[in-house]
Amino acid sequence: MREFWGLTGAKRVCDRATCGACTVLVDGKREYACALLAIDVQDREITTIESLGANGDLDPVQQAFVDNDALQCGFCTAGFVMSCKGFLAELPSPTHEDILKGMSGNLCRCGTYAGIQQAVAQAAAAMAAKPRPAGLKIRRPNRSRS
């Protein structure tokens, strides 16, 4: 992904499915890209950070991360944003407790969690206020990652 397609938004950090900096959506569901072989995801839809925010506008999740300064060095940020996208697709109206559990698959070293907690809540509210695009499957809440 990073070398052949130049999609460098997903980062290489822990290399063993721990930190979530490489998070992408596979068929709409969060996955650690570092733990997936390309051959195993053939014919499946992979969404990377680069596809967010069409037409130059930021996606509501991205905007919430900027508004709440939910980033510092930014190296974990793309992973967190994608994880948040997947999380809110699973659970569109999370409680604070849900956010702590549902976003626990990603790590940040600069210590931006306070902003991320607020950003996820803001994004959920912003997305709830907007009608869902037609055709998007609403998934059952899935908290297996917690």
Binding site: R2, E3, G6, L7, T8, G9, A10, K11, R12, V13, C14, D15, R16, T18, C19, A21, T48, I49, E50, L52, G53, L58, Q62, F65, V66, D67, D69, L71, Q72, C73, G74, F75, C76, T77, A78, V81, I99, L100, K101, M103, S104, N106, L107, C108, R109, C110, G111, T112, Y113, A114, G115, I116, Q117
Partner: protein
């Protein structure tokens, strides 16, 4: 001659407000290009063969087999035969190949033979066993006043041991670079906190004129003090590129190496004795401390921390050990000194049957110039934590299996504005460009530069283009010691003030007045008190065809920056006495840092410090194995970082307004990381009724301390 000062409180449109960081959109969209993301045409990849022994001598190196491997391009011996290696994971040979996998395979077939030497990797023992007697480097004792008399005049004396182990920086972007030669010129993309400095280091080490070197760092994935040097691997990447005919070479440390050799905060342990009068007046301090941090030993923590106790005797011993060497880490030496001192004072308060906040208040006279600020901060923190209403003596806050406790600590950090140079260009079309070699390690350098220039010109931050991270731009110091915000803000303020004055000169005639009669506002430039006559763009068009460029630097005239920030923190924890698990309920951080340029990113720095603080207080430790001589948790699975659910409620209060703003900008990237260890440890002691002597406060340590209390 222009006057350089900050706009008065009522006049500030941006400074001190909450502004979103200007590179936020690039970072949330994956467009920010880090060193690891630099992929150049024809780029090849390097891997480093690392010494598996904690102490050894290189006997021989044979790269013949490696050179026959598919894709092999170049080999560079970093430390040749005869070299003594002092830690496992140290660089021996770097191999470049067409792709990463080939590089790894080729590196795997390099044959290095070693003579293994005895090694010491542990650090909790102040007296290492016999073969390592020379590893112990005691420093001369230092004495202030009469310590014997001080203790004899004390009504209460406590004596105890405290400590914290080595931790690692854990930058999520590992160290590394992409180096490429074009003829005799070298371009290096490198993950660093010192863009200007790296150019000088490469020049000296490679013997290449500095004007033939360009260092580029657009974004850095974490530094925390670990990325101030080019490092041996940085030089190796440049050498490999040269051997490979100038092809760009990407050499990034793998996660294991990053954890094992890319970062190390020295440990600190101490046996402390401290005495006070029955009213809490501190009388005497005695400490025997030691620390490790690899080949250079550990660093000496400034003991006793903050309080100038009248009678002191302190003696520190550096202990060399065979681990990846120490690198400065966020607030170097201070978290250690803070833990060792504030834990002892907390234990003393307990023995005095005194509220620890009252003990600190009682001794404010020992804090020199800052006592008034600490008083205000303690009072503010008290309110935010409801300390006075809630605090109870040790072990009595709550009963049952899960016990609650409160702890307090305080700290200081210089945060002096560092050397910073920039140029500021106003173009005839009204666009503005600020250039500086400096770097943004996540603290918000771009944002500070944009806010200050925008404030001066009554524009918005998005009107200011900021170009940093290039050593061919005006030189700036490394980002360390929390100096960048102050240096950047002061330098760009001077450049902007001068540029505005020059622009006034250009437009005065057109407005039929003189430059000193002009002012700038949101509507544009006009006569003071009157209506703006020219919009910003119209005014800039008077420049004709030539842009207007001014340079600014720090230090310089005017009081724009200061040093000396102090803070108070209070922690509220719950400890499960059955499992030993400590949970953070709430942390209150009250921090001063002079004039705040951007409330939002300053708050982020304090939040970040608290979260890193929770990490090193509860989870983080570089676990070394004495038999293997290696780090056992050199990954992010078993080197436990704080997670999003571990931080409790964080309350940050920045001291601003009269008495603070006038001092100018003081860096705030580090001070708040100093106190969490002591505040959390003291809260755990308050909860349990017994001190857990060493960080991190892991379940095994908590249960051991409880066992000791029961005996």
């Amino acid at each position: 001659m222009s006057q350089y000062n900050w706009p008065l409180p009522g006049q500030r449109k941006l400074i001190g407000k909450s502004v979103s960081r200007v590179d936020g959109p690039a970072k949330v969209s994956g467009k920010a290009t880090y060193t690891y993301d630099v992929n150049l045409p024809g780029m090849i990849y390097a891997k480093v063969v690392r010494c598996p022994f904690a102490h050894a001598k290189v006997k021989s190196i044979d790269t013949t087999a490696a050179a026959k491997m598919p894709g092999f391009r170049a080999a560079f011996v970093i430390q040749g035969p005869g070299t003594e290696i002092f830690w496992a994971g140290d660089d021996i040979v770097a191999i470049a190949a067409d792709d990463e996998h080939s590089a790894e395979m080729a590196a795997g077939s390099v044959d290095v033979k070693y003579t293994v030497l005895p090694s010491l990797v542990l650090d909790a023992n102040p007296n290492p066993p016999a073969p390592f007697a020379s590893y112990r480097k005691p420093m001369d004792p230092e004495t202030v006043g009469d310590v014997k008399a001080g203790f004899s005049q004390s009504d209460v004396v406590i004596e105890s041991d405290y400590g914290m182990p080595v931790i690692t920086h854990c930058c999520l972007e590992s160290h590394g670079s992409v180096a490429a030669w074009t003829n005799d010129a070298l371009q290096v993309h490198i993950s660093t906190q010192a863009v200007t400095g790296i150019a000088g280091q490469l020049s000296a080490a490679l013997k290449v004129p500095q004007n033939k070197i360009q260092v580029v760092t657009q974004y850095v994935g974490g530094g925390y003090g670990a990325k101030l040097a080019a490092d041996r691997w940085g030089l190796a990447a440049a050498q490999l590129s040269k051997q490979a005919g100038g092809a760009p070479v990407k050499l990034m440390l793998d996660r294991h190496a990053e954890q094992e050799v890319g970062g190390c905060r020295p440990s600190a342990y101490a046996h402390v004795k401290v005495g006070a009068k029955s009213d809490g007046t501190l009388m005497a301090w005695q400490s025997e401390s030691w620390s490790t941090g690899g080949l250079g030993g550990g660093s000496e923590p400034p003991l006793p921390y903050l309080f100038q106790i009248p009678n002191q005797q302190r003696q520190h011993t550096q202990i060399v050990n065979n681990i990846g060497s120490a690198r400065s880490m966020r607030g170097p030496h201070h978290p250690q000194a803070c833990l060792l001192t504030m834990s002892a004072l907390d234990d003393l308060a307990d023995k005095l049957k005194m509220d620890p906040v009252k003990l600190l208040m009682k001794n404010m006279n020992l804090l020199a110039a800052r006592s008034a600020i600490y008083r205000q901060e303690l009072a503010t923190a008290d309110q935010l934590m409801q300390w006075s209403a809630r605090w109870k003596p040790r072990g009595t806050m709550s009963s049952g299996v899960v016990r609650q406790g409160l702890g307090v600590s305080m700290h200081a950090w210089p945060g002096k504005a560092h050397n910073f140079q920039c140029t500021l260009t106003i173009n005839p079309d009204g666009s503005v460009l600020v250039k500086a070699a400096s770097q943004d390690i996540g603290t918000g350098t771009r944002t500070v530069l944009a806010i200050v220039a925008a404030e001066t010109f009554a524009l918005s931050p998005e009107n200011i283009q900021v170009a940093i991270g290039d050593s061919t731009f005006p030189a700036s110091a490394a980002s360390g010691g929390s100096g960048t915000a102050g240096g950047a803000a002061a330098a760009v303020r001077r450049a902007s003030v001068d540029a505005l004055a020059a622009l006034f000169q250009k437009v005065a005639a057109a407005l039929g007045t003189t430059a000193d009669q002009l002012e700038v506002g949101e509507q544009g430039i006009g006569v003071k008190g009157g209506k703006p006559i020219l919009t910003w763009r119209q005014a800039c068009s008077k420049l004709g065809t030539l842009p207007l460029t001014m340079s600014g630097k720090n230090p310089g005239p005017g009081t724009l920056a200061d040093s000396g920030a102090c803070g108070v923190q209070m922690a509220d924890v719950s400890v499960d006495t059955g499992t030993g698990i400590v949970r953070i309920n709430k942390i209150v951080a009250v921090q001063d840092c002079g004039l705040i340029i951007d409330q939002k990113t300053t708050m982020s720095q304090v939040y970040g410090c608290l979260i890193m603080g929770v990490g090193y207080s509860l989870y983080e430790e570089k676990v070394m194995d004495q038999n293997l001589g290696r780090m056992l948790n050199a990954n992010l699975e078993f080197y436990r970082l704080c997670g999003i659910g571990d931080i409790g409620e964080l309350v940050v209060h920045l001291m601003t307004g009269s008495g603070y703003d006038e001092r100018g900008v003081i860096g705030c990237g580090e001070p708040a990381v100093i106190s969490p260890g002591a505040a959390i440890s003291n809260a755990v002691a308050n909860a349990l009724g017994v001190r857990v002597p060493n960080l991190p406060l892991t379940p095994d340590r908590v249960l051991a301390a409880l066992g000791r209390a029961d005996q």
